[in-house]
């Protein structure tokens, strides 16, 4: 729904870079699946057409008995380059803040330094309950 400027995309890029950094860090302790912690950089064309360097990376870990999978790439509800986060295979809606921190649909009034810590907080809050798909319809009151 929103076009973002190149400057905004760059700001977001640094936030996503933080995500990938955490993925690498996290892979040391709890990751179990192959490919965890992989990260690299790829050239992505921003909305203005200028190349914007955004990192890519994935994480696949088990946290408190629940699977957290994070991939960084195009997609997401906001039409921008976003990490895709799944908990036990279900999408966890996640959103970057201007300062590089993150919120999720589960903890939407609390910020986390990176997508992995936001996903772990969601796992703690969910207590094993399944996320439901994002189905909110535009408001009609």
């Amino acid at each position: 729904m929103n076009m973002i400027t190149r400057r905004q995309a760059l700001g977001l890029g640094s936030a996503v870079a933080a995500a990938a950094g955490l993925a690498a860090c996290s892979s040391k302790s709890t990751s179990e699946a192959p490919g965890a912690g992989a990260s690299g950089a790829s050239g992505v064309a921003g909305p203005s057409g200028a190349p914007v360097s955004l990192p890519t990376g994935t994480i696949d870990e088990t946290y408190e008995g629940h699977r957290i999978q994070i991939t960084v790439g195009p997609g997401g509800h906001h039409g921008m380059v976003m990490p895709t986060v799944k908990v036990d295979g279900n999408d966890l809606h996640i959103m970057p803040n201007a300062d590089g921190s993150w919120v999720t649909v589960v903890n939407h009034y609390e910020t986390f330094p990176d997508p992995v810590s936001a996903a772990r907080a969601a796992v703690r809050e969910l207590q094993g309950a399944d996320l439901v798909p994002f189905t909110a319809k535009e408001a009609k009151l």
């Binding site: 509800h77 959103m95 970057p96 609390e110 319809k137 535009e138």
Partner: protein, 280 residues
Amino acid sequence: MTVRKNQATLTPDEKSAFVNAVLELKRTGIYDRYVNAHNWYLLNDSDFGDRTGHRSPSFLPWHRRFLLDFEAALQRIDKNVSLPYWDWTADRTANSSLWGSDFMGGTRRGRDGQVLDGPFAFQGGKWALTVGVDRRTYLRRGLGSGTPQLPTRADVDSVIALPVYDSAPWNSASNGFRNALEGWRGVNLHNRVHVWVGGQMTSAASPNDPVFWLHHAFIDKLWAEWQVKHPKSGYLPAVRTANVVDLRSVLSPWNNVTPADLLDHHRFYTFDTESGGQRF
């Protein structure tokens, strides 16, 4: 004229009238339209794009209009009902009468946070959640498990002392009164209370918990208190600004009301602390 009262001062009859009207909106499905609308805005309001209900200057007028709509819906059920406000600087423990079984409930909770007493307990058969972020259909709360302390009056005073309403970049990184009140910066008032209550109140579908309205009625009152303290400070931005709602642009989803139309709450209601319309 509607008078919004401190929930701690409500009579038993006033509490039951409010609860019954809320339950009736729930029964008819109207209540869940508000849950859905809030969920939609919270998930779409972005620091990097359009933002209306949250993390933006219109956080306060948007919620004022949202509450006015809800209050009008309650008054179609019972014309004597008004939205009570929860002064969490005063009623700041899980033992407060707010959480009693005659009002919000939640004094008794399960290990999973399930509210087990009061009119909104799932077992009562009148409060099953239909719009949420996960498949749990029962109301949950933490009451202090997410963060130990509710904001104090000193915290509130420090935010009300801020002279400028809002500032660029007009999002969760802004300095100014609005963002300190919303809680993305500074001592954190509004966001912290959502986290303190816990359960559905921490999620994008936070109006699933009826205490949402009492919390936001108090946030709305703090805006009015700030206006009295800073009569020369107005809503900002006053001119067209990318992605946010300026003073004279319309607010969605209503599209027929602007922040300017909503600045003076006296057009719609007064607070029980006001005498002669201006005092707190």
